[in-house]
Symmetry: C2
Subunit: 216 residues, 2 copies
């Protein structure tokens, strides 16, 4: 039987609604291997072009490694702040944008852009497809973490070249994401960037078109 | 109370495990606006860099439009088949790779790569971040569809330029995905490409590294 009850449907919708991009709320509590493997297994069940499964997950617990990543984050963050006008830079600097040292586990997610697995299916027209498969895996991981009571934060303010050097990632392999993972003191009621008035949510009806693109 | 019960956790894991990339099993049964809006709302709750919410969803029901997309698929598919050696091309041609005409709803998913929303946060170091946010939305949609009993198929064998022309998508907007959505006769027990021996699944432990990249 592969149908879902109302309660099961609601469970998925709750996970989607209550998932947060966590930065400030990480706790140092250890994360067991069993739960880590469950969330990675959820990631690994994602769809992939040609069934190529082009992803790899580098689990990072070592503090020295995380400190090096955090240094890279600080550099990228300072550069990013310098790109804004004074008022916006002040707002930007007040944002909390990573929890690299606070989360006990970090995960660097990579993607083989020219995987032998999958035999090239779908890649002629959509060369980005392996990257997209890998992002589907990340979203699975994010939702699985949420129902396990684990927070995830995706840090995009990092120079991929620095991650490549730190983790020995070959040139042919794309760095897709750097994630922080851990128990949290709480899941925020709304997204941090909404609370901090960095950006407001757009209504669903404003992102739906019918039959033809209608955006600005 | 934002914790998940064992039953709720299992519901998410079931949705992840039972999600399929559907091609052959679509039914012509209509899909109501209520359920369509629920799955689009799930997509719209995805994480996005800077809270930019850079996605748009073009809902396509018009048969003439879907026929034009299907023609484009046939052309791209013939080209793709021609790129393989004879034995592989024979295997490739036997695969069922789209259900564009059979699924009553298609959804073309686009992404503003330089969104004003989000004020550029995270884009300096990771310019692909808006695309990745959009793929997170697609994976939310895919899982929501599964618990609603709706199949989704992602057709990557399409020239984005043809979709751009058909739907009036501006040059500055990226075409991320073309999805087929509809009720299904069944959800296959295993992935089509696994059943058809196009590719085999790799073990989870073979895609996990610790502290350093260890792939080939």
């Amino acid at each position: 039987m592969s149908e879902f009850s109302d309660a099961e449907r609601n469970a998925l919708y709750r996970a989607i609604a209550l998932r947060r991009d966590v930065r400030a709320e990480f706790l140092p509590d250890p994360v067991g291997d069993d739960v880590l493997l469950r969330v990675l297994s959820a990631a690994h069940q994602a769809p992939s072009v040609g069934l190529a499964q082009p992803w790899r997950f580098i689990v990072v617990r070592d503090f020295a490694k995380r400190r090096a990543v955090n240094d890279a984050f600080q550099r990228a963050n300072a550069l990013a702040a310098a790109g804004y006008d004074d008022a916006t830079a002040k707002e930007y600097r007040a944002l909390r944008l990573a929890g690299i040292l606070e989360a006990p586990i970090n995960i660097c997610v990579t993607c083989d852009e020219l995987p032998a697995r999958g035999r090239g299916l779908g890649r002629q027209t959509m060369p980005e497809a392996p990257r997209y498969s890998t992002v589907c895996a990340i979203q699975n991981l994010w939702l699985a973490a949420r129902v396990e009571g684990l927070g995830v934060g995706w840090v995009s303010i990092l120079d991929p070249a620095e991650l490549r050097a730190l983790f020995g990632i070959p040139e042919a392999v794309a760095v897709i994401a750097y994630l922080c993972l851990g128990r949290v003191s709480e899941f925020a009621a709304v997204a941090d960037l909404e609370r901090d008035r960095w950006e407001a949510r757009v209504a669903l009806e404003d992102v739906i078109d019918y039959e033809r693109y209608g955006g600005a």
